[in-house]
């Protein structure tokens, strides 16, 4: 049975990037398991899961609002959208020249994706950042806001 709004307000979980540890942020990105937003280990039902997803959306939107999406990300997304539009036009009209444009777009996206390697572990990143800043950064303590703030600060020199 779905809990009431009030009940969910009392749900002990992360709801903001201000308190969400960076480790949890990384793990949810990695596994897609929104249960990690829970601060206590409890059994949840499907409705709870939906609520957690809503929380995740709030957190993510907060992140976007605060740090924004990079130009690269938007470029990539726009490329994907452009490609999708060509494909849709092709399906609708059947014009063969669109195949060429599709191919060009695919080549471009593929080219952009070249050169990436295995993801680096969070702890390793934090170790490097710690070295950079001269003090230790803990993955369990460091919040998403802090992490990206440090990162941006280091990035902007």
């Amino acid at each position: 049975m779905k809990k009431s709004g009030k009940e969910y307000q009392n749900f002990n979980c992360f709801r903001s990037i201000d308190d969400l540890p960076i480790k949890v942020w990384f793990n949810i990105h990695k596994n897609g398991d929104y249960r990690l937003l829970l601060k206590d280990i409890i059994t949840i039902d499907e409705n709870d899961f939906e609520y957690l997803y809503e929380c995740w959306q709030i957190i993510y939107n907060e992140y976007i609002e605060m740090f924004g999406l990079s130009d690269e990300f938007l470029d990539d997304l726009n490329n994907q959208i452009q490609l999708a539009n060509y494909k849709a036009e092709f399906i609708i009209s059947g014009d063969r020249y669109l195949r060429t444009l599709i191919k060009i777009e695919e080549e471009k996206i593929e080219e952009d994706l070249k050169g990436t390697s295995k993801p680096m572990e969070l702890e390793m990143l934090l170790a490097k950042m710690s070295k950079y800043y001269g003090f230790k950064l803990e993955s369990k303590e460091l919040t998403v806001v802090q992490y990206y703030s440090y990162l941006n600060s280091a990035n902007n020199g």
């Binding site: 959306q57 470029d75 999708a84 494909k87 063969r96 952009d112 993801p119 680096m120 490097k128």
Partner: protein, 1133 residues
């Protein structure tokens, strides 16, 4: 009795109907699916374009819609593929012809065995007339057989004789089995005696001794009387006729052979009777080859006329004959060629076989055929002999040159001039080639020895000395038996086997009689007697009016055939009574007139002639003896006429083929000329350019390569120059006539086949009448459809040709335009109009024919026409759309790169400020900043590199899109051009420009120095290899990279370490040993280094920088460990 398997046992009646229905259903389903996909695509596209992508939900919706569209696109492509495949299957299954093919196939297979060999021969070589001739021959044979059978059955005497023999056999068999006293044996004996007595009685009356076993004397003494009796009993004509027919062919061969030998006798002055030995040789040679004795006799004549003695002719007969067979040449050509080659090499007929073997070996070991060998040796043989070269050696050289792309005739000609040159210089070919090979400048040596025109030959031969020697050895020493092997191969074909059979038969005939003997005289007597008898009976019969009307009509058949149809007079009827000579003469005359008639009349004449012969054959079956003679003579005359018509027809056809070939080529060339105006000029320029390149070329490989190209280009130029002279009108007429003729021929052939098939169906006793009727009806329908198809195809070809011609005409009339653009615009309009007319004409044609199967094509044509009407606007729209797209894509990418580069620039500025600050500190003696300075400098370099990479990438993209844009502006065929993405990619790669480069890499092929094409931008600097060597690292000897040079310059200009150190790539920062090498005081350096190291220990190093790329989920971390700077790129999540 086993039931005959029919197609109905194998296929259900509704097999095709079901298949077609199922396919149609499936097509409907696919159509529905496709519609569904379109709906999905529309919906998802709407989602994609409606999202602001400013929240997670929005981004996810976008990504889901993108994913959905990707899946839909894949499914849509698959459906399109399936639909395409289904359409093909449906078309096949829907074809009426396909249905009927199944029906007819089994029946045709049943019949096919009987006519297979005949069909093959006929279809391969002969036209309609030849086919009908073969049919007639078959019918004649059948008629003769039937007549013989009828006559035998009707002959009571023969029947009685047969019965006696049968009774006698039966008695013997029973006596042996049951004994003579057995009742059954006695009964059989009684029957035998009764019949035997009856026969004896007849024989006694007729004084025939055949049954008077043991009374040989009586029998022999009565022979003369019996023969006389037979002759005078009115059977004389029949007897003569039978014998005459039997020996007719043999006599003809004897006569022709005799004539040829008489000719030889005349040419050589040797008496006919003294040519017996030669006759034997001729007969022996011919008997084992596909050539007839008469052909070999003609060859002997040719050899005599070439100046050979009888002995030489005998020696040359076999090799020349075999050579002509092996090389597919005529005897005369082979005789000429072998004779000339022997003469050129100073050899006699004794070497004929050896030379023929070598030539055969050359044919099998190289790509040279008879014509090429002949052309090449014709040039070179005389001078080769002067140089002491053997036939094998010269052939090997020509073969090697041919294999290296020099055409044989050219090789022969150039070798000839080269050899003449070498003779003048007093050199042998081996010496000359040795000189070339040992020369430092092979090209110059080759030019000097072989001449400017032939120096490539010299280079090729010098390069292939071993190969040529090996081939020459093979030709000169290992050729024995080659001719036989090659000839045997040629003789394996069925056609050749039949010819051998023919010549073997002829050999048999000629061995019996050579045209000058007793038998021949007897034969001649018989023929003469027969003709006289026929004449007498003919006249008698006509005067008495005893012939039936039909027979008289038949006799006049040839006359009426020609007079009624062709309108010209003939005396062939009269000629019938004047003997073979008159018939020959008359048929020759008719054949000559025949070829002057148009094709339709010719065909009618041929058909009527054939029908006349058929009727005569039918009449022959029931004709009296006298009538039979007339009929057979007329059939013979008509057959002779047909054979002559075939010959003249073939001759005319060959002539026409040559004409068509020439005019066809001219026509094509005309099109090429008009379609590609200025192509000759371009070709001339290409030739001129190649000449220039050859002049500039410095390596022999390049010279050879270019020379070969030059040969090809020159030939092409010649060809183009040759073809500019024929008019479009001529070409049009010929083309249309050709299309019509071919269509007529195909229809006539199909009609003939159909008639035959129907006849076979009718005569097949295993098929029920109702089935027969169905089959015949469907065959009739098929034929009608075939004819319609052909007619439509013909008209369609004519329409297409008209359109081609109209286009060509427009191209030709390109005057009146001020600019090329004007011309192109008008051309586009004109071509569009032509295309529209072409489609409209086809549409009208198909509408007029009103056939169901053309409905799809009609719909296509309508759609095409509609599209064509809007093509101008549509094309502009398309062009604009693509142009915009290309422009936008290019701008988007440029923006992205500009942003990245700007960011790098910002970082560089910041780093630069740091460096300035630290340098100041360092100059003030605060050496603890040195490490930071070094790091910053390093970072600066890294950033600069990164910037370079980005710029490089931007340049590549710009190049790519500039290519795309240029293609876009090519409105000739934009869609096709863009579709060829691989071309674009290749061009994009080829046109890439770089902002400087470290090393230009391996050799290119633009010039002899390994040059390649690069794009330079304004104010760039290029260092030569020599410059780079001047700046190389003295320790490692390696060339320095640009970054090293820039580092050194930077350090030098900063003045910081001007006298202290030099950059060394091996250490990336500084190399103490370099100081010593530069002659500097090491103690000062050591002191400074100590201070430096201390300051390093005291400072907190800046560890590096981190850069995040959200789009790629990448983090880029640059950090330093000691003097080593490392950059790591990792995924963020």
């Amino acid at each position: 009795m086993a039931k005959q398997v029919t197609n109905k046992d194998i296929f259900n009646d509704d097999l095709f109907t079901k298949t077609v229905d199922e396919a149609k259903k499936l097509k409907k389903v696919l159509d529905e699916l496709e519609k569904g996909f379109i709906e999905v695509a529309k919906a998802q596209q709407k989602i994609v374009n409606s999202q602001d992508n400013k929240s997670l939900d929005s981004i996810q919706k976008t990504k889901n819609a993108v994913k959905e569209l990707n899946e839909t696109e894949k499914a849509s492509l698959k459906i399109q593929q399936q639909k395409k495949s289904l359409a093909v299957q449906l078309k096949i299954a829907n074809s009426e012809a396909n249905k009927q093919n199944v029906q007819n196939k089994l029946l045709i297979q049943e019949q096919i065995k009987d006519v297979k060999n005949l069909e093959k021969a006929k279809l391969k070589n002969l036209g309609v007339i030849k086919k009908t001739t073969a049919e007639i021959n078959k019918e004649i044979a059948a008629a003769k057989k039937q007549r013989k059978s009828t006559a035998d059955s009707a002959n009571a005497f023969k029947v009685l004789t047969k019965q006696v023999n049968s009774a006698q056999s039966r008695f013997k068999r029973l006596a042996a089995q049951y004994g003579e006293t057995d009742d059954r044996t006695q009964k059989a004996l009684s029957t035998f005696r009764r019949l035997d007595n009856q026969l004896r009685s007849i024989n006694k009356t007729a004084r025939d001794g055949r049954r008077d076993v043991g009374r040989y004397g009586l029998a022999l003494s009565n022979v003369g009387a019996s023969l006389k009796s037979l002759v005078f009993a009115g059977g004389v004509v029949g007897a003569i006729r039978g014998v005459g027919r039997a020996i007719g062919d043999a006599f003809e061969r004897v006569r022709a052979f005799d004539k040829e030998l008489q000719n030889i006798s005349g040419v050589t002055g040797i008496a006919r009777k003294d040519l017996k030995s030669l006759e034997k040789s001729i007969i022996d040679v011919a008997g084992s080859s596909i050539k007839t004795s008469n052909e070999v006799a003609q060859l002997a004549s040719t050899l005599f006329t070439l100046g050979n003695s009888e002995r030489e002719v005998k020696l040359l007969l076999k090799p020349v004959n075999d050579l002509s067979i092996a090389l597919g040449a005529t005897s005369e050509e082979a005789a000429d060629f072998l004779g000339q080659t022997l003469n050129a090499f100073g050899k006699g007929a004794d070497s004929g076989q050896e030379f023929a073997d070598i030539i055969a070996n050359v044919r099998t070991s190289t790509s040279l055929d008879f014509q090429r060998i002949k052309d090449a040796l014709g040039f070179v043989a005389p001078t080769a002999n002067a140089l002491g070269l053997s036939l094998g050696t010269v052939s090997a050289q020509i073969g090697v040159l041919q294999d290296n792309g020099i055409k044989a005739a050219r090789a022969g000609r150039l070798l000839n001039t080269s050899f003449a040159r070498l003779i003048e210089k007093g050199l042998t070919l081996d010496e000359a080639l040795l000189k070339v090979n040992s020369s430092q400048d092979k090209v110059a040596t080759s030019v000097d020895l072989f001449g400017k025109e032939s120096f490539t030959l010299g280079l090729i031969l010098a390069d292939n000395v071993d190969k040529t020697a090996a081939l020459a050895n093979e030709f000169d020493n290992l050729s024995e038996g080659s001719l036989k092997t090659l000839t045997d191969e040629q003789l394996k074909s069925m056609d050749a086997q039949l010819k051998i059979l023919d010549s073997t038969y002829e050999k048999f005939i000629l061995n019996i009689e050579n045209g000058n003997g007793v038998i021949s005289d007897i034969f001649k007597g018989f023929i003469k007697g027969a003709i006289d008898a026929v004449d007498r009976i003919d006249k008698l019969s006509v005067s008495l009016g005893n012939f039936t009307k039909r027979t008289i009509g038949a006799r006049a058949g040839i006359i009426s055939t020609f007079e009624d149809i062709s309108g010209f007079q003939t005396d062939i009827g009269l000629a019938l009574s004047k003997g073979n000579e008159a018939i020959e003469k008359e048929t020759d005359r008719i054949a000559k007139e025949f070829v002057t008639k148009d094709r339709k009349t010719q065909r009618t004449i041929a058909d009527n002639l054939v029908n006349r012969i058929r009727e005569d054959i039918k009449s022959l079956k029931g004709a009296s003896v006298a009538e039979g003679i007339i009929l057979e003579r007329r059939i013979g005359a008509n057959q002779l006429l047909i054979s002559k018509l075939e010959i003249v027809n073939d001759e005319v056809k060959e002539g026409t083929d040559v004409l068509n070939l020439n005019t066809g080529a001219t026509n094509k060339n005309e099109k090429a000329k008009t379609g590609l105006t200025g192509v000759i000029e371009k070709q001339s320029k290409a030739v001129s350019d190649l000449n220039e390149k050859i002049k500039r070329a410095s390596t022999e490989e390049l010279v050879i390569k270019l020379s070969l190209e030059l040969d090809d280009e020159k030939e092409e130029l010649d060809r183009l120059n040759r073809i500019v002279n024929s008019s479009l009108e001529e070409a049009q007429k010929i083309e249309i006539d050709l299309i019509e003729d071919q269509t007529e021929k195909r229809i006539a052939l199909e009609e003939l086949k159909s008639k035959k098939l129907i006849k076979q169906i009718q005569s097949n006793s295993r098929i029920e009448q109702s089935v027969k009727d169905d089959l015949i009806r469907s065959e009739d329908e098929r034929l009608i459809k075939f004819t319609e198809d052909q007619e439509i195809k013909k008209l369609k070809s004519a329409i297409d040709f008209e359109a081609d011609l109209a286009r060509a005409e427009f191209e030709q009339k390109r005057t009146g335009f001020n600019t090329q653009e004007e011309f192109e615009e008008e051309k586009a309009e004109q071509f569009k109009a032509i295309k529209r007319n072409q489609l409209q004409a086809e549409l009208d044609l198909l509408k007029f024919s009103g056939r169901e199967e053309d409905e799809l094509r009609v719909a296509q044509l309508k759609a095409q026409l509609e599209g064509l009407n809007d093509i101008g606007k549509g094309f502009e729209k398309l062009k604009g759309t693509i142009g915009d797209v290309v422009q936008v894509i290019g701008e988007v990418i440029d923006d992205a790169f500009d942003k990245r580069i700007a960011k790098i620039g910002e970082q560089l500025d910041k780093t630069g400020e740091n460096i300035d600050r630290l340098r100041t500190k360092a100059n003030e003696g605060q050496l603890d900043s040195e490490e930071s300075l070094a790091f910053e400098q390093k970072q600066e370099i890294e950033l600069a590199r990164q910037q370079e990479r980005e710029q490089k990438r931007q340049a590549r993209t710009q190049a790519f899109f500039s290519v795309l844009s240029s293609f876009q502006s090519n409105d000739g065929n934009l869609t096709k051009t863009i579709a060829d993405i691989s071309v674009l990619r290749a061009l994009a790669g080829g046109l890439t420009a770089f902002d400087g480069v470290d090393d230009t890499g391996p050799r290119g092929d633009v010039d002899s120095k390994g040059g390649k094409i690069w794009t330079l931008h304004p104010n760039e600097q290029v260092h030569s290899l020599r410059d780079r060597k001047d700046m190389k690292d003295p320790n490692t000897g390696k060339l320095r990279s640009r970054n090293e040079l820039k580092d050194i310059v930077s350090l030098h200009d900063s003045g910081l370490m001007n006298d202290l150190m030099k950059h060394d790539g091996s250490n990336e920062f500084m190399n103490p040993s370099a100081f010593v090498l530069n002659g500097m005081d090491t103690s000062k350096i050591e002191s400074k280094l100590d201070k430096l190291n201390q300051s390093i220990k005291s400072i907190q190093p800046i560890t590096g920088s981190v850069e995040i790329n959200e789009a790629k989920k990448i983090i880029q971390y640059t950090y330093k460990k000691g003097n080593r700077v490392t950059k790591e790129v990792s995924k963020l999540f």
